[in-house]
Amino acid sequence: MTCGEYRESFLTAHADDELIGRDRRAADDHVGRCAGCRTALAQERRLKALVRTRFAPGKVPPDLRLRIRAALGEISDAPPRRPWRETIRRAARRPAALRRRLPLGIAAALAASLILALALKRQTGAPVVFAAVPPTPTFDYAVSKYEALAEEFVPNAAVETSSAGADYAWVIERESHGYVADEVADLAEAYRNAEVPEDVYDFAGYRLAGGRIDSTDDGAPATFTLYRSQNGEIISICLRAPNFYAPVGARYWAGSHTFYEYAGHSLCLTFHPDHYVSIVVADEPVAALLRDVTSANVYAAVS
């Protein structure tokens, strides 16, 4: 590593302790041998410390602190829900980007990995042990909505029955990273501008029953799409969850999808841009959900 390379590409991250592995070793090694870069690193770190000490945050004014505590006290027992408001309008359609969610190649890779897993299991003779999924509030929410909506589902999004697809079920706003669709109006806009093939689960015997635009208990927007068959329902839930990460304990992975068994249900978790997630919940075994979701993606990709 030359001094130029170090200062151009490594110095800042080195000072911030952001280097790991080989980069870290190379940077440490370089400053160990180069007095000039060692000085540069020390100055970078001092400048960082200087900013921290000179910009120590000011105190929150006491009256504001009191107001915040009072407001917290008011909502602590009964977190308010934001009333949702929006009239659903028919939307102009656009080509379905969602139809390319899982390329055939990934499906093939998935099939190969399943065969490999089975082969390994047969070789060792030992059962595959999965970590338990920890309690996950977002999953709890998805399951509770599934249980409620599978019983009684009242669509509030216009059902589109043309061959071009249904204009609901999707809340993702892809246009701007700075845009947060946290108003139902925004959500409806995103909803309208998306497109999911209505017959996506047809092959598995599921028919689209309808879509809902709604709010979570904390007022964040969420959408629900119900597919129904003689044997049960599949619900696709989409919401924005900025600090939600995939919990451990997944049973399968397929492309961007992760599959879980959770609270007696099968779940398929998918992360999307801008902190959106979709969770598909079903009563069928998780292997069947894996088959249905991946097949649906293959179907969507080729249709």
Binding site: L11, T12, A13, D16, E18, Q43, E44, R46, L47, K48, A49, L50, V51, R52, R54, F55, A56, P57, G58, K59, V60, P61, L64, R65, R67, I68, A71, L72, I75, S76, D77, P79, P80, P137, T138, D140, Y141, S144, H177, G178, Y179, V180, D182, T216, D217, D218, G219, A220, A241, P242, N243, F244, Y245, D274
Partner: protein, 188 residues
């Protein structure tokens, strides 16, 4: 959503989130540059955080989580576009240095020199304040609020590499500004 009992939730929230009020307030003041708006932004951030507290992954950086909410609210609720209006470009910044006839070729000022003099600290503040807003906010998230690059990227909704390059550029600009300021003061 299955929530823990309200009592426990409230207590846990107070223990984890409220110690960061001062940091949030300073960020709100920087973003809004208005006392009343900063008050509103802070209050709304705290209430939003409380309502969404179930989403906070225990064991992760609570300050980063709160700052994410604050920045999101600022972007969407408060003066959408203000962020951009404040965003002087690097070129503007460098032009300003130029127009002030500051000697950019002056020797870099060592941090120790600055610490020796309160007035110099004020110069540092001014230099940071004069940074292009994207750089300044990124630098302060990393240096002042002690977020790592990943956390800062999440708050700002930019790629990780952007955080790294902004921090690097911000420090470089800061050195130039400090050196120029010192040169002006000493008449060199």
């Amino acid at each position: 959503m299955r929530n823990p009992p309200a009592q426990n939730w409230r207590l846990e929230f107070e223990q984890l989130a409220l110690p960061h009020l001062d940091a949030l307030y300073s960020a709100a003041m920087r973003l809004t540059r208005d006392r009343d708006e900063a008050d509103d932004l802070l209050q709304e951030t705290v209430l939003r955080a409380y309502r969404c507290f179930y989403q906070f992954a225990r064991g992760t950086n609570c300050r980063a989580w709160l700052l994410t909410i604050l920045y999101n609210l600022f972007r969407t609720r408060y003066r959408r576009g203000r962020f951009e209006q404040l965003a002087a470009t690097v070129e503007d910044f460098e032009r300003e240095l130029e127009s002030n006839r500051l000697d950019q070729g002056a020797a870099p000022l060592s941090p120790e020199d600055l610490l020796a003099d309160r007035a110099e600290a004020a110069r540092l503040r001014r230099a940071v304040d004069a940074l292009p807003v994207d750089f300044r906010e990124t630098l302060l998230l990393v240096d002042l609020h002690e977020l790592n690059y990943q956390e800062a990227a999440r708050v700002l909704e930019v790629p990780l590499g952007t955080v790294k390059s902004r921090v690097s550029r911000a420090r470089a600009l800061l050195r130039v500004a400090l050196a120029a300021s010192a040169a002006t003061k000493t008449g060199t």
